[in-house]
């Protein structure tokens, strides 16, 4: 992984905010394709964007910090439940609900970060699972608050900015989610290249060396978990707002495992990898799982094994290598 850092840092940006603009434009372009070509599947695409936040969040802790976690859905679920409960209790403004989700996700992220990043290896993995399952058990048992196994329903958010109503074709929900995704993605692009983000990368590559040069690892990882929690909280709140229900599946172990698969499929350690993995996985699932869920499981399992053996850095890696080669050719000429 170290070579990536080396090739990136000395690279001079010719256009200020060029990368951010490219990221924003690409997402808008992808969104436009979805919006105009598949107007009947907008509800599904909105759900996809919600999950994309969770995968981006997981990328921050797994891809950038090397934390192995199987309980990341907790942050997403807490954000979703917080936004849902706030909405049921009377807060109608979608932006305020989003803020509630972010706040709850951040708190949850800080708590789980404080527990999970204390250790490495097996204890870390088991703690992450236990935290995730604890949240799932709470969501199930506190049924007066969360609706239990029936799910939390009756979430009817008001108009976005007081103008755009949520319609039954999910047009507003889709555009609103897409807009939030663009903003969050651009912020994250800046964030992962900040000194803090680069230091987290350094911790992932060699935590002993990081400690030797005087970095205190634990507070940084907890902070990173907090940021990841905020991103996941955005996704949870958006999903709650756009679908109108929050079910137990949003905190389940399966959800946590699934997003890990999506992240690795696309490529951990790249924001684009997280997005690409989500899009590929969700679309395939949408098509295959509808036909036969067990064929889908076989296929995912096989795919995962193949990825780990042949492309451990994800599908995004060859694409990035191609870009790098083109760039080198361009500068040589």
């Amino acid at each position: 992984m170290s070579e990536i850092v080396v090739t990136r840092v000395p690279h001079k940006r010719s256009i200020p905010f060029g990368q951010e603009a490219a990221g924003a434009l690409s997402i808008i372009a992808l969104g436009a394709i979805g919006y105009f070509l598949y107007p009947d599947d907008l509800a599904f695409l909105t759900r996809l964007i919600g999950i994309a936040f969770l995968v981006l969040s997981l990328d921050l802790v797994t891809g950038y910090c090397g934390v192995a976690t199987l309980g990341h859905a907790a942050q997403f679920g807490v954000g979703a439940y917080a936004a849902g409960i706030a909405c049921v209790r009377g807060i109608a403004d979608p932006v305020a609900l989003l803020a509630v989700g972010v706040f709850a996700g951040t708190i949850m992220g800080l708590i789980s970060g404080a527990l999970i990043t204390r250790f490495r290896g097996l204890p870390q993995l088991v703690l992450s699972i236990a935290v995730g399952q604890l949240v799932a058990a709470l969501a199930n048992k506190l049924s007066w608050l969360t609706g239990g196994s029936d799910g939390l329903s009756g979430i009817t958010p008001g108009k976005v900015f007081g103008i755009f109503n949520f319609d039954m074709y999910s047009r507003t929900a889709f555009l609103f989610s897409l807009g939030v995704l663009v903003i969050v993605f651009v912020l994250l692009q800046r964030f992962v290249r900040s000194p803090f983000g680069l230091m987290c990368r350094g911790i992932k590559d060699d935590d002993l060396r990081a400690r030797m040069i005087g970095v205190s690892i634990y507070p940084r990882l907890v902070l990173m978990y907090g940021v990841a929690g905020a991103v996941a909280g955005v996704g949870g709140a958006l999903t709650a707002i756009s679908t109108g229900v929050v079910g137990l599946d949003s905190v389940s172990f399966e959800r946590s495992a699934e997003v890990l698969v999506m992240l690795v499929l696309g490529g951990a350690g790249h924001l684009w990898g997280a997005l690409a993995g989500t899009i590929i996985f969700m679309i395939f699932e949408h098509i295959v799982a509808a036909a036969n869920p067990f064929h889908w499981m076989t296929l995912v399992g096989l795919l995962l094994i193949l990825i780990v053996i042949f492309a451990p850095r994800g599908l995004i890696e060859p694409v990035l290598a191609l870009f790098a080669r083109l760039k080198r050719k361009g500068s040589a000429a």
């Binding site: 797994t62 090397g66 192995a68 199987l70 527990l115 204390r118 250790f119 290896g121 097996l122 204890p123 870390q124 993995l125 088991v126 703690l127 699972i129 236990a130 935290v131 399952q133 604890l134 799932a136 058990a137 709470l138 199930n140 048992k141 172990f253 399966e254 495992a257 890990l260 698969v261 690795v264 951990a268 067990f294 064929h295 889908w296 499981m297 076989t298 296929l299 995912v300 399992g301 096989l302 795919l303 995962l304 094994i305 990825i307 780990v308 053996i309 451990p312």
Partner: protein
């Protein structure tokens, strides 16, 4: 008194099932340092094979257990050669998690494609299905049988690891695999045999414990976490650790279900977080540098 006694029987039987299945995983994690999330999937294969053998081939229960164990080991051989060998002692747990989750999904999909997605019962023979009179109380024979299986497994493993030449080589490989290799111990053979042993124990536990942990399509996913927690709480590679953790968690879970069914899972995972946070290498485990 009656309640306490039946809770205890159920708890110990449940704990023993957990022990038989998890001890294989524990040995594997102690020796090969593989976080094998697919262990439950192999237990599931054992259960499906036993169910098929009894219901369709009409063989006796004991023969079915034997067929299930051997069949599962045979099924697992290609996985060992093609996949597991790559991740033995590799330090990155993320790769191991991903590959073994992939194997789990793959096995769930294939098994349900072959045997059909329904709950599989493993009918008990006459001698095991009724209650047993132990003098002052009647107990379900099957529970006693499971507990006996657990005790025998623990004793046999202890003998194997502490008293035989294979056990000596195994312990040498656990402590320092490079040095063991240099001294002429064929560690790859030790690994392969241990893998087969672990999978066989998993399948055995899956069949014997089918009354308590029913064999169903998502068995491998449902109990994946439980087995991993047992190993983590007990400490990887420790028989005593796995036994005490299984009984402890079995007791906590069963008592919770009897006394406070509302919050069973909650207290279970809360105690797991406490134990793992205080003893990151398990109650009886050692840290591996």
């Amino acid at each position: 008194m009656r309640t306490i006694f039946s809770i205890m029987t159920d708890a110990v039987a449940y704990g023993m099932v957990l022990f038989i299945i998890s001890i294989g995983l524990s040995i594997m994690m102690g020796l090969m340092r593989v976080v094998n999330l697919a262990h439950g999937a192999f237990a599931m294969i054992g259960g499906y094979l036993a169910s098929y053998a009894i219901r369709d081939l009409h063989v006796h229960y004991s023969v079915a257990i034997l067929m299930a164990v051997i069949g599962t080991i045979i099924v697992s051989i290609p996985f060992e050669i093609l996949l597991y060998r790559r991740i033995y002692r590799k330090s990155d747990p993320l790769i191991q998690v991903l590959m073994t989750i992939g194997i789990t999904f793959f096995i769930i999909g294939i098994v349900n494609f072959i045997f059909g997605p329904s709950l599989k019962s493993i009918p008990l023979p006459q001698t095991l299905s009724g209650p047993l009179d132990i003098g002052f109380r009647m107990l379900p024979t099957h529970r006693i049988f499971v507990i006996a299986c657990g005790v025998v497994t623990a004793l046999a493993l202890w003998l194997l690891i502490e008293k035989t030449e294979f056990g000596i080589k195994l312990r040498a490989s656990v402590d320092h695999s490079g040095m063991a290799d240099a001294l002429g111990i064929r560690t790859e053979i030790i690994y392969a045999v241990t893998f087969a042993l672990a999978i066989g124990l998993g399948a055995f536990g899956g069949v014997v414990g089918a009354e308590i942990l029913p064999i169903e399509p998502f068995y491998a996913l449902r109990y994946m976490v439980t087995f991993l927690v047992v190993v983590s709480v007990g400490g990887a590679g420790s028989i005593l650790g796995a036994l005490s953790a299984s009984l402890l968690l079995g007791l906590a879970d069963t008592t919770g279900k009897y006394l406070a069914p509302e919050f069973g899972d909650f207290f279970f995972y809360l105690s797991v977080i406490f134990i793992v946070f205080l003893f990151p290498h398990g109650l009886f485990g050692r840290s591996h540098a």
